[in-house]
């Protein structure tokens, strides 16, 4: 807040300048429109960027080229994709429920864009500074399940209904660890406001920022949060609802043309939104990790972290095989849920092991760190052993086609 540089605040200044140059009665409206337009344009552009990034990256991981025909090295592929999606015929099955079929992609995209309202993408760059920002995020994104169901049910296709059922079962199950893993942050920060949570982490001591991922409960919480986020956004290895090889494309099998593109857009912007929340909660939002890098504008930090997380998502997609339904459910309820509860206990221990209890700063801090790490690590080993018991893991034998 104190020494906010010009480059750091350039978008805020631009916004204020634009609003100041409109007639007074329109100022509120213009201010809202600017925020909404900025969010939609920036993240839709990021979506286009990510599709080419993902296709090239996955191609690289799978020893093939990826798209390389449109423009130099295929960089204009997103434009070609967009033109194709817009010019394709919009096929609606005759037995489909037309109104619901039409509304489902709109509801899905609209709801996900709503969650961006509380994400701080930079210093003073939050569309709405809600007192209950984190709660708002989860409350609004809860409606995506209903939109997915609308799409799957209205298509009147058994594959799409199967996909929708899988999607709902998965999203409801993984919403629990997603919520619980973020409670630790709320407990320590003492607020639900995303802006205040980031400000809390932007403080530095000894040149190092107070990111929650640097604490044992924060690290465990971040890993659990990202796993749950992968499941929540239906990305591989949790892509059972889409499962191209099993149920073709799941809940959006009967969509074509631009509505199909909207589902694609929804999947990606949901990934960005939930990654953005993970960055806000655990990775210090727009703050820099070390104080001597503080001159880099805050919004660059946010988007750098976002791109890093997107790359992690792509990497995981290129690495992990798809789970089975029973593995998915067992993992959610037998592993994720207990671990998130243990993370909460560890966060509580962190809250009460103040210097007054464990002693002065250098040694006391180490003791606090180790105790909280032990609170997580010991149950983790016990739980993993208990889940592995009675299961025979044989050496895998690979047979190649001849």
């Amino acid at each position: 807040m104190i020494s906010a540089g010009t480059a750091d605040q350039i978008w805020v200044t631009l916004d204020h300048w634009l609003v100041a140059h409109t007639p007074a009665p329109l100022q509120t409206l213009v201010s809202i429109v600017i925020s909404v337009a900025a969010i939609i344009v920036v993240f839709a552009a990021l979506f286009a960027l990510t599709t080419i990034f993902e296709r090239k990256g996955l191609g690289r991981m799978q020893n093939r080229y990826g798209p390389n025909r449109v423009g130099p090295c295929g960089v204009f592929q997103p434009i070609a994709d967009a033109v194709k999606a817009l010019t394709k015929e919009d096929v609606v099955p005759r037995s489909a429920d037309h109104v619901v079929h039409y509304l489902a992609p709109l509801v899905l995209v609209g709801v996900i864009f709503l969650t961006y309202a509380v994400l701080p993408v930079g210093r003073n760059m939050t569309a709405v500074n809600l007192d209950s920002g984190v709660l708002y995020f989860f409350a609004v994104s809860a409606a995506t399940e209903l939109a997915v169901f609308m799409a799957g049910w209205s298509s009147h296709n058994k594959y799409s209904l199967l996909g929708a059922m899988r999607a709902i079962a998965q999203m409801v199950s993984y919403e629990v660890p997603l919520l619980l893993s973020s409670i630790g942050v709320v407990m320590i920060a003492g607020t639900l406001s995303t802006v205040k949570i980031v400000e809390e982490q932007a403080r530095t001591s000894n040149g190092l920022a107070h990111w929650y991922v640097f604490t044992p409960w924060g690290l465990a919480g971040f890993i659990l949060f990202m796993i749950a986020a992968t499941a929540e956004t239906n990305r591989s290895p949790f892509d059972l609802p889409e499962g191209e090889s099993e149920i073709i494309a799941g809940y959006f099998i009967e969509y074509s043309g631009f509505k199909f593109a909207l589902f694609f857009l929804a999947e990606y912007i949901e990934m960005f939104a939930v990654s953005g929340l993970g960055i806000t909660l655990f990775l210090g939002g727009w703050s820099s990790p070390v104080s001597f890098l503080g001159w880099i504008p805050s919004w660059i930090w946010f988007f750098a972290k976002l791109l890093a997380l997107i790359f992690a998502f792509i990497w995981v997609r290129g690495t992990m095989p798809r789970l089975r339904m029973d593995q998915l459910m067992n993992f959610a309820w037998k592993f994720m849920l207990p671990m998130t509860l243990i993370t909460m206990v560890s966060a509580g221990a962190w809250r009460f092991l103040t210097p007054a209890v464990v002693g002065p700063k250098p040694l006391g801090g180490v003791i606090r760190w180790l105790v909280c790490a032990l609170v997580i690590f010991a149950p983790y080993i016990t739980l993993a052993r208990a889940l592995e018991r009675g299961r025979k893991i044989e050496k895998r034998v690979y047979r190649y086609a001849e």
Partner: protein, 162 residues
């Protein structure tokens, strides 16, 4: 229930839940509004939809929208509305002159109140919900496995909370 397809009714119900949440938010009750959205739109609506699909397949019901049963339902709804309206009309709240709106409650205050003054009711509700959850799981498991090994619900709850 004026729509023929049961799933449409469920979706309309979800919309009305969202509308109620918007009403809460408009009245400044941020927490209540968002909790309404999270619990009702996110969970209850999904539960209803699941129930519909698992019981009768969500196919179209009878062709006639207006039936004697519907008429009876309308009469009952009117009667309930009349009773409620009468109760609101004679209550003391409406007699008072309009007071100034309460200051917006911060989320912090709600948290402190829940954790300090009302911590016992909160814990009791948590215990009851856990008991219900475990009971439901045991019922579901017993049906599938059909082994006599299923334990009674009560002792497990206390273990979990202790």
């Amino acid at each position: 229930m004026t729509m023929r397809r049961l799933v449409h009714c469920a979706l309309a119900l979800a919309v009305s839940f969202a509308g109620l949440a918007a009403l809460y938010l408009n009245l400044g009750a941020e927490f209540a509004g968002l909790a309404q959205l999270l619990v009702y739109v996110g969970a209850i609506a999904i539960l209803i939809v699941f129930a519909i699909l698992l019981t009768q397949g969500g196919e179209a019901g009878p062709d006639k929208v207006f039936s004697p049963a519907g008429l009876a339902g309308a009469v009952i709804a009117l009667a309930v509305f009349a009773v409620l309206a009468w109760a609101v009309n004679i209550s003391s709240v409406t007699r008072q002159s309009i007071v100034a709106p309460a200051p917006p409650t911060a989320m912090r205050d709600i948290g402190f109140t829940l954790m300090q003054r009302y911590v016992l009711p909160l814990e009791v509700i948590g215990l009851m919900l856990t008991a219900a959850l475990i009971g439901a799981v045991i019922l579901a498991v017993r049906q599938k496995v059909s082994e006599p090994a299923a334990k009674p619900a009560a002792p497990q709850n206390t273990e979990l909370r202790a």
